[in-house]
Amino acid sequence: MSSTVLITILSLSLLAFMSAVILYFVAQKFKVYEDPRIDEVQAVLPAANCGACGFAGCRNMAEALVRADSFDGLNCPVGGAPVMAEAARILGKVALVVDPTVAVLKCNGSPEFSPRTSAYNGASDCRIANSLYTGETDCSYGCLGNGDCERSCAFDALHMDMATGLPVISDEKCVSCGACVKACPRNLIELRKKAKKDRKIYVACSNCDKGGPARKACKVACIACGKCQKACAFNAITIENNLAYIDAVKCTFCRKCAGECPTNAIIELNFPPKKPKVEAEAEAANG
């Protein structure tokens, strides 16, 4: 009896020892060297795996950062400058300054401005509605309101407003990952450079039709009249395909264009209320 137990213990121990030896040599033979800095960089990254950087996930991004000679073209918009600076410190490289951006919706076609001419009763998916017809309004460029962007947002930054039928983007929560930009079948969402105090001035319209049909479909459509372009002293406004576009980099936020726009297609957000002209001039004179 006792000998059976002894033999069992001994044979199993021997077997275990031999396996351990084999495994040790196999592990040595097939060892994969992994840069320990990849783990370090990955720990710094936001772990959102959103794909905003262009890679499948944060691990891929970390590998790319470690492998790269310079950070040119590599940026994590979610983490922003602090994260990139930290990654640069670990890797002993220089982080490039990339302006933070935020998503804006280039459509303002709520039922108040853009009358509904039909009712959509199909599958609640913008991609499907877009392939079937122009949508509930006569504007074939405007928001369809089925919320593909809302479903694509992993950061809870975008919600459909039931009253206007348009998505509302939260500046605080938006990390400009670009998921909504890809989700929108009508390319209505743009990532624009963030200005201080979240100030924004942009053309909230994507209608490329001529002035007449555009205006007929929506009261706040850009009719490409060119007034904003003339008013702009900084050449920030271009008109292409019957649509004005304000370059967020050249724009100095003087707000002259918004005052000129006959259809109120240019939206200004988060600015202090405009002072009456006389007061403003007096203030300028006082310096």
Partner: protein, 444 residues
């Protein structure tokens, strides 16, 4: 035992309200809008300019490339502008606007009603004439007919199949044509046989049209090689592959065309248009459109010039009833709702259905319980519930493996689904994405 296709299919209520109403000519409207793209393939190039005077039958846009079709003026008058106009989807595309003056036709058209049986043209000339006359498949797909008549080298066509099935509920335009223009259709079939160099043509007609079957059978006795075959009623028998299977017991493989099994399929409406083009020299600028609906006061089958605003056609049928919820361009199974009644009638418009509000609202979407009714209904052996799930999640590579591009969008799956799921909506989405993906891959 009547012939039919073996796999899948559904039996929607027929509702052929206009089957006994003869074709009526719709008066020429005072304005027409003629889109330059009324077919599958590249849009035609306008060849007239603003201010030009045109006659009915005059070419106003020339087909570009092989898969394209000429567009002809349907009226006489002055070109008021060439501009963008909304089509039935609401999207704007190039169209020629003509203000109508009188009703002059170009001199070469034989306007008499005499039947011309002698075919003078050679096969090559017939194909050329079909291209020149802008003939496209009038069953609804509007594929340019001259392409189908050009048999690719290495392939052989031995049977011409004529599609008189009209399996879509409500529609009766082909039915009326077979009753009223049977002889012309059969001459058209003979012309198509000559062009394809085949000795045999089979006309397939569903058994719910006994009048058309009797008429065509009687008339076909004096035409060599043409036989008429009654078919068991089942949707979608009018689809090419299903019809080939039903009539010839030949299965068109996945991703192939009927020509790969030696068949070419043309619609009876197309055969009539071919007759008019070849024997009467009349290009395709008018067609029969069924205007129907349960609450319509004067539903009927109307011979309409292309470019006529849809509202004129509906007014002729008694105007839009108050309880209308949806106006469908095409049949109730495959047609699409129009967003605007100013859109023009085009070559592919076989019917207009005014659906009452209570019937037009879709069911509430409930979860899929994998009952597999859609799988049994699919005539192409696909798994619609799976294709929908894949498209919904944008898994297009997998959808391609599951042969999503085989889908012909017949809508049997959406029709049969007890949970009211928008199967076809999502499959269509997936299909267009897979096609886009494949095209990009081919470019590389």
């Amino acid at each position: 035992m009547l012939k039919t296709f073996p796999i899948g299919g559904v039996h929607p209520p027929e509702n052929k309200l206009t089957a006994d109403i003869p074709i009526e000519y719709l008066p020429v409207p005072d304005k027409v809008i003629i889109p330059v793209s009324q077919h599958i393939g590249s849009p035609a190039n306008p060849v007239v300019a603003k201010g030009d005077t045109v006659k009915a039958g005059q070419i106003i846009a020339a087909g570009k490339g092989f898969v394209s079709a000429n567009i002809h003026s349907s009226v006489s008058g002055k070109v008021s502008k060439i501009d963008l106009a909304a089509d039935s989807s609401g999207y704007r595309q190039t169209a020629v606007f003509i203000d109508v003056e009188g009703d002059d036709w170009i001199d070469t058209i034989d306007r008499s009603n005499d039947l011309v049986r002698d075919i003078k043209l050679s096969p090559e000339e017939i194909v050329k004439r079909c291209f020149e006359s802008g003939i496209v498949g009038l069953g609804g797909a509007t594929f340019p007919s001259h392409v189908k008549l050009t048999v690719p080298s290495g392939k052989k066509c031995d049977v011409l199949i004529i599609n008189g099935v009209e399996c879509e509920p409500y529609l009766t335009s082909d039915h009326r044509l077979m009753l009223e223009r049977g002889e012309q259709i059969l001459v058209g079939v003979t012309i198509l046989m000559k062009a394809l160099k085949v000795e045999k043509a089979m006309v397939g007609i569903e058994n719910n049209k006994p009048g058309a079957i009797a008429n065509m059978t009687r008339l076909s006795a004096s035409f060599k090689g043409i036989t008429v075959h009654p078919l068991k009623v089942k949707y979608p028998q009018g689809a090419e592959k299903q019809l080939v299977k039903a009539l010839m017991h030949r299965e068109v493989p996945s991703g192939r065309l009927p020509i790969d099994v030696g068949a070419v399929v043309h619609n009876v409406g197309t055969a009539y248009a071919v007759y008019e083009a070849v024997q009467k020299n009349k290009p395709l600028f008018e067609r029969v459109v069924t205007v129907t609906g349960k609450s319509l006061t004067k539903p009927g089958n109307y011979m309409v010039r292309t470019g006529t605003p849809l509202i004129k056609l509906i007014e002729a049928a008694g105007g839009i009833p108050g309880n209308t919820g949806k106006i469908i361009n095409g049949g109730p199974m495959m047609g699409k709702a129009v967003s605007n009644t100013d859109v023009p009638v085009v070559k592919g418009m076989s019917g207009v259905i005014l659906v009452p509000l209570e019937e037009s609202v879709r069911e509430k979407i409930k979860p899929c319980i994998r009952c597999a009714k859609c799988v049994s209904a699919c005539p192409l052996n696909l798994e619609p519930y799976l294709l929908m799930a894949l498209s919904e999640r944008s898994l297009f590579e997998r959808a391609e493996i599951e042969r999503i591009t085989d889908c012909m969008e017949c809508g049997s799956c959406s029709f049969i689904c007890p949970a009211g799921r928008p199967l076809l909506d999502y499959i269509r989405l997936g299909k267009s994405n897979v096609i886009k993906m494949a095209r990009q891959r081919n470019l590389k």
